[in-house]
């Protein structure tokens, strides 16, 4: 497979040589082209890779199964080419779409021209339908000041959706731990003799456990 060797060597040489005159983008371009080439035609690299692995493993040429048998390299090439064939016309359409003349205007406003930040859709509004649908899980808390009369003097609405896992599970667990775990401090008061006593106790327990285990 000399052709394969020549292609691989050319890619490597072109990407590392050229000196300062060769721009980084050009080197990266060569490397990227090589990657695309190998991605589309992996069978090109199979033969050199195979001979290298055989030389490294010191195995005879007939001992190991060929990579081309183990991996459907031809199918990978076919899939890549099909993908390119399918996406090429789309690229043409996208080029038309992106290059066509555009006229600047305001967003579709339905009466509210030039929307400001206060008019725009906020994250809370975006998630409200989800929160309503799965209300039992996020468990939103809303505070509403009901309006009354023809000209209500004040109205307010506040909705807080807590992070169910963090706020209601992790933080709540840590709060409980912070409240009750200090009780365990009675066992450990930074005294060396207490530590030695615990170690000794555990060793004795393990010895008894091991001894009973051996007998059984």
């Amino acid at each position: 497979m000399p052709v394969t060797w020549i292609i691989l060597a050319a890619i490597v040489l072109l990407s590392v040589s050229g000196g300062p005159a060769c721009l980084l983008s050009q080197r990266l371009g060569v490397l990227a082209s090589g990657c695309v080439c190998l991605g589309l035609f992996p069978s090109l690299a199979a033969a050199p890779l195979e001979s290298a692995t055989r030389a490294w493993a010191a195995a005879p040429a007939t001992a190991a199964t060929s990579i081309a048998v183990l991996v459907p390299l031809g199918r990978i090439s076919a899939m890549g080419l099909v993908m390119i064939a399918a996406l090429a016309p789309l690229g043409w359409i996208a080029t038309i779409a992106l290059r066509s003349r555009a006229v600047a205007a305001a967003s579709w406003d339905c009466g509210y021209a030039w929307p400001t930040i206060r008019m725009q859709y906020i994250g809370s509004s975006f998630g409200s339908t989800l929160v309503d649908l799965f209300g039992a899980l996020p468990w939103p808390r809303t505070h509403t000041l009901a309006i009354y009369g023809l000209f209500p003097p004040a109205a307010s609405f506040k909705s807080v959706v807590a992070d169910t896992v963090f706020d209601r599970l992790v933080l709540a667990s840590l709060r409980l731990a912070g409240r009750y775990l200090p009780i365990l401090r009675v066992f450990q008061q930074a005294q060396m003799q207490s530590c030695v006593l615990y170690v000794l106790t555990i060793l004795i327990v393990q010895l008894v456990w091991g001894a009973t285990g051996v007998q059984s």
């Binding site: 076919a78 899939m79 099909v82 993908m83 064939a85 399918a86 996406l87 016309p89 789309l90 359409i93 996208a94 038309i96 779409a97 992106l98 066509s100 003349r101 555009a102 006229v103 600047a104 205007a105 305001a106 967003s107 579709w108 406003d109 339905c110 509210y112 929307p115 008019m119 725009q120 859709y121 509004s125 975006f126 998630g127 409200s128 339908t129 989800l130 649908l133 799965f134």
Partner: protein, 302 residues
């Protein structure tokens, strides 16, 4: 190679025809002549030749989203086999890739809608992702059923089924999955009773409201991608409801095209005899689809 070429040809050329068949069916039901079958092609060509109107609040996300939607739809279409023929792209675990391709398209469509800063389009994006929370698990359950029945983790293997056809024990789960997938097809492709692609009232729209600001070529790309998505879901569903084959190459391709057109007629009939559901009831319908697919899976693992 011939099968791959025909697959590509059908995938890229046939989808707009489905919209024409659906519209023609609806027109016949309403006693009208209706637009020509090829009207969608004319519309696409017209849109591609027009200029665009871009909102001043939009960024590159707005322009990129239609391209991403189109590419993901084509890639998804290359992974779903048509009729008895293998898909051009197939590998173990491609069902996950397929599902996330559709998810990626949804993410970019919703992002483009939010990018406009319009409250209406944000509302549509919120509805879209809300209903996706129900339709995506339904699709996953359906794929799990097919994987369990066929013993394959590749879409091609799953949809072709085991050698000798699907076993009798899989009949009940497959019927449930077929019902669930049909509902998901209607929801994911903005068809009645979930959404109405012809409506012009922002407050009631889901998908259409998200693309209100797109115009000209960008709108054309979006409409084409939507047609592709309908085609892909249709090809997926046909494997469950009509896994027929004759054994002859051209007869099987013709059979697939006929089945796809029949499915478009069925969608047109559903749209003609049903009204749109209230928005709050759409979630009930999709929950029903999810339960159908979930029960199908439970029947298999019991």
């Amino acid at each position: 190679m011939t099968a791959i070429a025909i697959h590509l040809l059908l995938l890229l050329a046939m989808p707009p025809l489905l919209a024409g068949v659906i519209n023609k069916t609806k027109a016949r039901f309403a006693g009208r002549v209706g637009p020509p079958l090829l009207q969608s092609y004319y519309d696409l060509i017209k849109l591609l030749r027009k200029d665009m109107v871009l909102s001043t609040t939009t960024t590159w996300v707005f322009r990129l989203a239609p391209a991403v939607t189109l590419v993901t739809a084509v890639l998804a279409g290359l992974m779903v086999p048509m009729g008895r023929f293998d898909a051009p792209i197939a590998f173990t675990g491609d069902l996950i890739f397929f599902a996330y391709l559709l998810g990626l398209a949804r993410f970019f469509t919703a992002s483009a809608a939010l990018d406009t800063g319009s409250a209406f389009e944000g509302m549509g994006a919120a509805r879209e992702v809300t209903f996706a929370c129900l339709s995506e698990p339904a699709v996953f359950f359906a794929l799990l059923v097919l994987a369990r029945v066929s013993g394959s983790l590749s879409l091609t293997g799953m949809l072709h089924g085991p050698v000798g056809g699907f076993p009798a024990v899989a009949a009940a789960p497959l019927i449930l999955v077929a019902i669930g997938l049909f509902v998901v097809l209607l929801a994911e492709n903005c068809r009645i009773p979930v959404d109405d692609p012809n409506t012009h009232l922002e407050l009631t729209m889901i998908h259409e409201v998200m693309v209100l600001d797109h115009s000209g070529p960008l709108l054309g790309v979006i409409l084409y991608a939507a047609a592709l998505k309908l085609f892909v879901f249709g090809a997926l569903l046909l494997h469950v409801i009509a896994p027929f084959q004759t054994g002859a190459l051209w007869a099987d391709w013709s059979l697939f095209v006929a089945e796809m057109l029949a499915l478009a007629v069925a969608i047109g009939v559903v749209e003609s005899v049903m009204a749109r559901l209230l928005m709050r009831r759409v979630s009930y319908l999709l929950t029903g689809a999810l339960l159908f697919c979930g029960f199908g899976f439970l029947l298999l693992v019991r």
